[in-house]
């Protein structure tokens, strides 16, 4: 995920898929699905929503790839689409925590939906995720303000460049660097205390 060549790999798959290569389309869509799931789960914290976001992103990605004009921009398009799907999904829920709705702006210490996840007994999907990610990191991550968590997930876990993160988050590169710096310090404190 951290490979700087990931963007180029995506672009190559997009080019092949766009001209009718089914194997390339299949690989591209599976990767996009996994991206949608990871992002939705880590940033927003609801496994059931992550499944829905994954499904919603699938058709959009398929249609987008067939008429894409700039394969290099696919990756930022995908994260922007997934981020927006997450936002729409959560806005449909009654009683949505304000912290999530203000995902892009504000550094409020909402804690977000992930905070509630650890408080409940784990459902099967949550158990799967619990086994997937190291618990102390998951617990530290959920304490970050949502807008910081989004930056950490995209920059550190998904391996996007600062420029790409800025584009998806809709802020300046300087702002991304500032949020990432603060988020790292917060995470370090939480991990040290764990």
């Amino acid at each position: 995920m951290q490979d700087a060549g990931v963007k180029a790999e995506y672009a190559a798959l997009v080019r092949d898929a766009a001209v009718g290569n089914r194997a390339a389309m299949e690989r591209l869509l599976v990767r996009a699905q996994e991206t949608a799931y990871r992002f939705s789960l880590l940033v927003c914290g609801h496994p059931e929503d992550a499944e829905d976001v994954m499904q919603e992103s699938l058709l959009k990605t398929y249609q987008h790839v067939k008429r894409i004009s700039d394969p290099e921009s696919f990756r930022t398009w995908l994260y922007t689409t997934v981020k927006n799907a997450c936002l729409m999904k959560r806005r449909r829920h009654a009683g949505e925590p304000a912290a999530f709705v203000s995902l892009e702006d504000g550094d409020g210490l909402g804690g977000g939906a992930l905070a509630g996840l650890a408080d409940k007994s784990l459902r099967p999907d949550e158990q799967v995720i619990s086994n997937w990610m190291e618990e102390r990191l998951r617990n530290a991550l959920k304490t970050l303000p949502p807008s910081y968590r989004m930056i950490v997930v995209m920059r550190e876990m998904e391996g996007l460049s600062t420029k790409e993160v800025a584009e998806v988050a809709g802020c300046s590169e300087a702002n991304v660097k500032t949020r990432l710096h603060r988020a790292r310090l917060m995470l370090r404190r939480r991990l040290a205390a764990a």
Binding site: M25, Y37, L59, M157, H181, R184
Partner: protein, 87 residues
């Protein structure tokens, strides 16, 4: 004392750029020299390096097989459906 504090503040400001390899060699060297004599900054650099490493390791860990299988199934179902439409 104030010079030491200033140096520690500089470390705190520059540490992310340092970890991301965005600082010039001279600035990196200054941080490394400072950390040789400042235990708290050395611990901070080490702790942040570990934090970043932990995040990156999590990011490169494949999703659970159950999730990946559902993704593959959904994709094949969509492609089969779209293929029938065009044939």
């Amino acid at each position: 004392m104030s010079e030491s504090v200033t140096s520690c503040r500089t470390i705190l400001t520059d540490i992310s750029a340092y970890l991301d390899g965005e600082l010039e060699a001279a600035a990196c060297q200054a941080i490394e020299w400072h950390c040789q004599t400042c235990a708290s900054c050395a611990a901070l650099v080490s702790g942040l390096r570990e934090t970043v490493g932990l995040c990156r390791k999590a990011g490169s860990t494949p999703l659970p097989e159950e999730v990946r299988q559902r993704a593959r199934d959904s994709v094949r179902e969509l492609l089969d459906r779209e293929s029938k439409k065009t044939s």
